[in-house]
Symmetry: C2
Subunit: 274 residues, 2 copies
């Protein structure tokens, strides 16, 4: 397992989403010696894609991902609108040379109880986006989300399920593993081994707080919670993963309320817990 | 699949935990034509085990389970205190002729990040309880809890994981399937088939609300949420399950605030959604 330094970290802009623009995030990473960034699309678009690409390049940052494509179930069936938006996301990922486009695939359509149907929509959507992404050299990373988001955010809920989809769709698609979503999975180590280096496209960290006060916005800084992050990272790196370790923390009551420089300092300070 | 009637339902006392004693629950079931009951141990002990057994028998109710044993990780390691309490739970289940003793196995010990260790404690604990339960003819039902409870309530989080433990421990142990905990699992149908009739010891229903406002106490009445309960029941009954369908709803803001007779009427009114 690597000895991590700040240069191995990537700032997911959601971590300071209430505090900073993308340009401020880029400056902040440089200031704190953080080696990479992973923008959310709203921040990227606010900045302007071409300008963002230049700022990131000039700062010498890696781009561990673009968050996020997906939401294939948003309109109840796979529509051209949804597919076009994902195509734009691929283009944006290409423009900033992101290691992958992270996919939050979407939950149940409004009013639906058909999770198998939702999963079929998602697989079809990923297939279409992947076809395009291959032509521009962007990797697609399915992010399995915690099962508590199956209804409202993503109906792909385990690493094994994501890899089943990858198996079906072929090259150019893999998984974005976020410890928050997968730490509980008794099959995790086996599925990471199954994924292998080529399909481990992103590794996200934060922590599971106990108790958790909000299902979406109560994530902790690494070390604050109950996830044995080094244990998971060792399994991921045993497969040869050597990419940036991306820090993505949604924290309405705590980290989003602090000065962003304090958050970045806490990130680098948390290296021993990763 | 069966055509359910009120007589096929069982009232888990948690559903009206704020409103009724066990004696009132028993009377209520009789009044509403509900065929069974599943007491929580606190209600059972308040009533007195022998008195409860007589009241249940006199009312002609089936007993779909006793909630709950388990919590093997409560003291950080498997202690005699924990084992003794589970032995008492087995005796109580025997006294009321419960179809099974439902096991909520416990989460991470305080301060621990070792989920594999917690799972090892749980397996050892179940093994010990099972040894005793076999001598008095009580079935042990592991309830896999939703992964969002892995830290604080139960580190057995999928049906497959529960069945792996059952495979290891042998006869007399199976699973209590609650649709709330397992509905999202892409492997659910396969695992229900793997379980088979002899290991499908209980079937619990309620509904997953979208949005869910609280991780513990915001469950819905069947039909209010997004779970395709009939689809899951059909898979369970295809294995030969013909037991009571137990209704267990934790609902601080809604069902716990209503008159209990209204809750029971809603349960029987929800039969078409089960």
């Amino acid at each position: 397992m690597r000895t991590l330094t700040s240069a191995d970290l990537s700032l997911n802009t959601a971590t300071v989403s209430k505090q900073w623009t993308l340009a401020e995030c880029i400056d902040g990473c440089a200031r704190h010696g953080i080696g990479g960034i992973s923008p959310w699309r709203d921040k990227l678009q606010d900045c302007g894609v071409d300008r963002a690409a230049k700022l990131i390049r000039d700062a010498g940052l890696g781009v561990s991902g673009l968050c996020r494509g997906g939401w294939y179930t948003a309109e109840g069936a796979l529509t051209q609108t949804v597919l076009d938006d994902n195509k734009r996301a691929v283009d944006e990922a290409a423009a900033i040379e992101a290691a992958c486009l992270v996919m939050v695939v979407g939950g149940l359509p409004d009013g639906s109880r058909d999770i198998d149907g939702a999963r079929a929509i998602v697989t079809d959507g990923l297939s279409a986006t992947l076809d395009y992404a291959r032509t521009v050299g962007v990797k697609i990373a399915i992010e399995p989300l915690h099962p508590m988001y199956a209804a409202d955010r993503a109906c792909v809920n385990t690493t094994g399920q994501a890899l089943d989809i990858c198996d079906r769709l072929g090259n150019g698609i893999g998984v974005a593993l976020d410890v928050y979503h997968v730490w509980w999975d008794p099959d995790l180590a086996a599925q990471i081994a199954r994924a292998g280096k080529d399909r481990l496209l992103a590794f996200h960290v934060c922590d599971w707080l106990n108790p958790t006060r909000d299902m979406l916005t109560d994530r902790g800084m690494m070390g604050e919670g109950v996830i044995d992050i080094p244990a998971i990272r060792s399994v991921v790196e045993a497969q040869g993963f050597d990419g940036l370790v991306e820090v993505e923390i949604f924290s309405a009551e705590d980290w989003w309320t602090r000065p962003a420089d304090e958050v970045l300092a806490a990130m680098t300070g948390a290296l021993p817990s990763i």
